[in-house]
Amino acid sequence: MPAELETVERVRRIDVDQYRYGFETIIESDKAPKGLSEDIVRFISAKKDEPEWMLEWRLEAYRRWLTMQEPTWARVDYPKIDYQDLYYYSAPKQKKALASLDEVDPEILKTYEKLGIPLREQEILAGVVRPEGEADGEAPRRVAVDAVFDSVSVATTFQAELKKAGVIFMPISHALREHPDLVKKYLGTVVPTTDNFFATLNSAVFSDGSFVYVPPGVRCPMELSTYFRINERNTGQFERTLIIADKGSYVSYLEGCTAPQRDENQLHAAVVELIALDDAEIKYSTVQNWYPGNSEGKGGVYNFVTKRGDCRGKNSKISWTQVETGSAITWKYPSCILRGDNSRGEFYSIAISNGYQQVDSGTKMIHLGKNTTSRIISKGIAAGKSQNTYRGLVSAHRKATGSRNFTACDSLLIGDKCGAHTVPYVEAKNSSALFEHEATTSKISEDVLFYCVQRGLSQEEAVGLVVNGFVRDVLQQLPMEFAVEAQKLISISLEGSVG
């Protein structure tokens, strides 16, 4: 189907209700008492059966957090968060360890089904793999999924097959027990516990997340994926992801997130650490679709996330791709530390804001090694009464000879009540560094819209078409599974922004 028709179809299918994942799952859960204290930190650590050093690590972070102040430099505006009015731990009640996925609470399985993960992916999540060449004759693309529900991981698929390749993919809470040395060696080395207010909070109270280790020379046989779901009321989700690609390995990791529709705001403060050793490559893709709040700006998720990748070895590569359509507030700067010589960092981003959403997102490319290169492509689309900010840093240190950066950030404004802002910092301390930055902000050209409308498209279809063209550079970087989903999301996010 030609791209135009596809867009038209998609726009036509949009429901009146914009957020399709707003339902709530009624399920019994195990919660820590409300509020935050050393006891809660101990409680979480005990729940996870963690080694002693981990508890110390958390407590140290907690004590540090008490001395820190919430950052206010971002262009986001929200009422003060009462950190004592939150649940820091919530887990679906579980009687015993699961032997197989069939034993997962059917309510949870139903939740994932309702989240609209395509049927085949659903089967795979349930562990059913079709033999190759069956039925439609297509070899199924396989994705190993770690499903995180509130504070805990409920299921991780394909563990056995991954194990055969030597890849470790499991909830970080399990990794702490099964591979404590690996976790201890790398945890907090990219985002230290003292990094920033939200990262420090996360270090103290994180409850789950994914852990990936790809051994030297291994190309991970399938895409790894985590699906985050906040369900419980007044619960903060604090997950921590740690991905290590050892020498010469490759891994592609996908992340998706949704939350129920609620009137109060939910807090999500995650930390993601990526480590690429010599010649390794990590591709990290996110489709962020937390509940954005209703049309009056009520409710929605506060998304304060610290994501950072460390290209520690030479010739390593880290690539971030993100599609940000959800959250009432997004505060997120996936960054790359280009430490190894000849390492490469990439950042591709689409940030769409509508309604009363506020997005302050961007990246940091810190060139430390020789001949390091980076590329930033950021597309911001602001509609409704939203504010959309790109904030980025590109810096070359004294010894980063031959570093290169190319940055292009474009913003599109739809409607006259929204704002689009660009705040780049370009710092060069090395004469052989070559940095190029360009940014534009404009609205959809009247000529282009007129052209489309004149050929029979409605105003809304025409906008959908232009927007899809505008973000194509980034969509192309997404793994196939996500690209389709992301394209749908873009249309839905812009619903109601025209006319």
Partner: protein, 440 residues
């Protein structure tokens, strides 16, 4: 950094500066009150430091350390030394107004009156009790920061220029700041009003008499350009190599106004030029260009804030920095487009050329856009001279330095194109050439 430790000593010294100077500052009553309020504001904020976003790259607590004591009024010897400087100025044929160590020097200035141009000194106006609104001369509502407040508190003199409606003075107005006292600070403030339909060229030069070292020049210029006015504003900062120059320009533009500004910084150890432009009327155009030529351990910061408050205005900024040795160039440019400022077209381009491995260039071009029907863009590049271009020139027999000089000239040339007056453009080019020649 432990600010708590730095602050008290700093403000203590600054407090002394004001207390000692207070009696020498012109203007009593309401003027003194405004000074006190401005100074209280400065004390409360302290010297700007890197935690203040607008001063992120220019930490005056490190670079300036403290505010130097107020310079004494120039004596005859000082005026004689200043005179030598005046005779060696590049700009000729201008209506010259000279300020020596922050005090207007009539004997060195061009006092012949020109039709349509009225010149008064700030000191006389502040001391004139007949002017009811004299305290307003030290006030501004457009921008505020610690250094603007300090300037308002301490300003000793300056020129107040009125260009009458539809006047087109034949000569450019040239304000010359000359420093003759080492380790002293001059605080000047000039107000320029170009009435509706008038044309004017304003030049500012910052220079020092031979042997003057370690001084500070604190200046601010408040400029209004009326409807249909056409204003050219050129700044040449050629201060002594170890001097500091902290300057603010506050510019308000009317309807159908043309404003073209050009700033050239080649002197000074620590320079900060911050310009705040407000578009107050429709169909106005502004070009705000700048060039920094830096070497040694110089630090130069150009910060622009363009407020597109009304629809149908256009602006264009071109900034070039050539940074050698361990010098540090900073460019910050912010384009604000207010919610109603539809059809704004704003462009900003900043480029830095790094000639040495010790050099540093920081660029921060910002867009803040609240209106949808606009075209805004900015670009920033940083890099070294293009090797293939150098090779091309060298293959044709040019020595390396000459080849470099040629490329650097071409690099800064684009920013100088906005100077409409050919003679003035030649002055800027000559300054660049001198800088290149000194590079050896």
């Amino acid at each position: 950094m432990n600010l708590a430790l730095v602050k008290p000593t700093m403000d203590g010294a600054a407090s002394d500066v004001f207390t000692v100077a207070r009696d020498r500052l012109p203007g009593k009553g309401p003027v003194a009150e405004v000074r006190q309020a401005a100074f209280d504001d400065f004390i409360q904020k302290g010297l700007p430091h890197r935690r203040i976003e607008e001063w992120k790259y220019t930490d005056l607590r490190v670079l300036l350390r403290e505010v130097a004591p107020l310079a004494a009024a120039p004596d005859q010897a000082a005026l004689d030394r200043a005179k030598e400087v005046v005779t060696s100025l590049d700009v000729n044929g201008a209506h010259r107004l000279v300020l020596v160590d922050g005090t207007f020097a009539p004997q060195l200035s061009d006092t012949t009156s020109e039709s349509g141009v009225t010149v008064q000194t700030l000191r006389a106006m502040l001391e004139n009790a007949d002017i009811a609104a004299r305290a307003d001369l030290l006030r501004t509502s457009v921008a505020s920061d610690a250094m603007i407040s300090l300037n308002a508190a301490m300003a000793t003199d300056g020129v107040v220029i009125d260009v009458a409606e539809n006047a087109a003075p034949g000569k450019p107005i040239h304000i010359v700041h000359i420093a003759t006292q080492s380790k002293a600070a001059a605080f000047t403030r000039s107000l320029v009003k170009v009435a509706n339909g008038a044309r004017a060229t304003l030049i500012e030069s910052f220079v020092a008499a031979d042997g003057t070292a370690g001084y500070q020049a604190h200046d601010s210029v408040v400029l209004w350009a009326g409807n249909g006015a056409d204003v050219q504003h050129i700044r040449l900062v050629e201060d002594a190599r170890d001097a500091a120059n902290i300057a603010t320009a506050i510019v308000t533009l009317g309807e159908r106004t043309q404003y073209r500004a050009f700033n050239l910084t080649s002197g000074g150890a620590v320079c900060r030029y911050q310009a705040f432009l407000r578009f107050g009327g429709q169909n106005t155009h502004a070009d705000v260009n700048g060039v920094s030529l830096l070497n040694g351990r110089q630090h130069a910061d150009t910060t622009l804030v363009l407020d597109h408050a009304v629809p149908h205005c256009t602006s264009n900024e071109v900034f070039r920095a050539v940074v050698d040795d361990s010098a540090h160039s900073v460019f910050q440019g912010r384009i604000n487009v207010h919610p109603d400022a539809q059809k704004t077209d704003a462009r900003m381009m900043t480029r830095a050329l790094l000639l040495s491995d010790e050099a540093e260039a920081d660029n921060k071009p910002e867009l803040e856009i609240f209106a949808d029907d606009v075209q805004c863009g900015h670009g920033a590049t940083t890099g070294a001279l293009d090797d293939s271009l150098l090779f091309y020139l060298r293959a044709r027999g040019l020595p390396e330095k000459e080849a470099q000089a040629l490329l650097i000239q071409a690099f800064v040339g684009e920013a100088m194109e906005s100077i409409a007056d050919e003679a003035l453009r030649d002055v800027a080019i000559a300054t660049a050439e001198r800088w290149l020649a000194a590079r050896g």
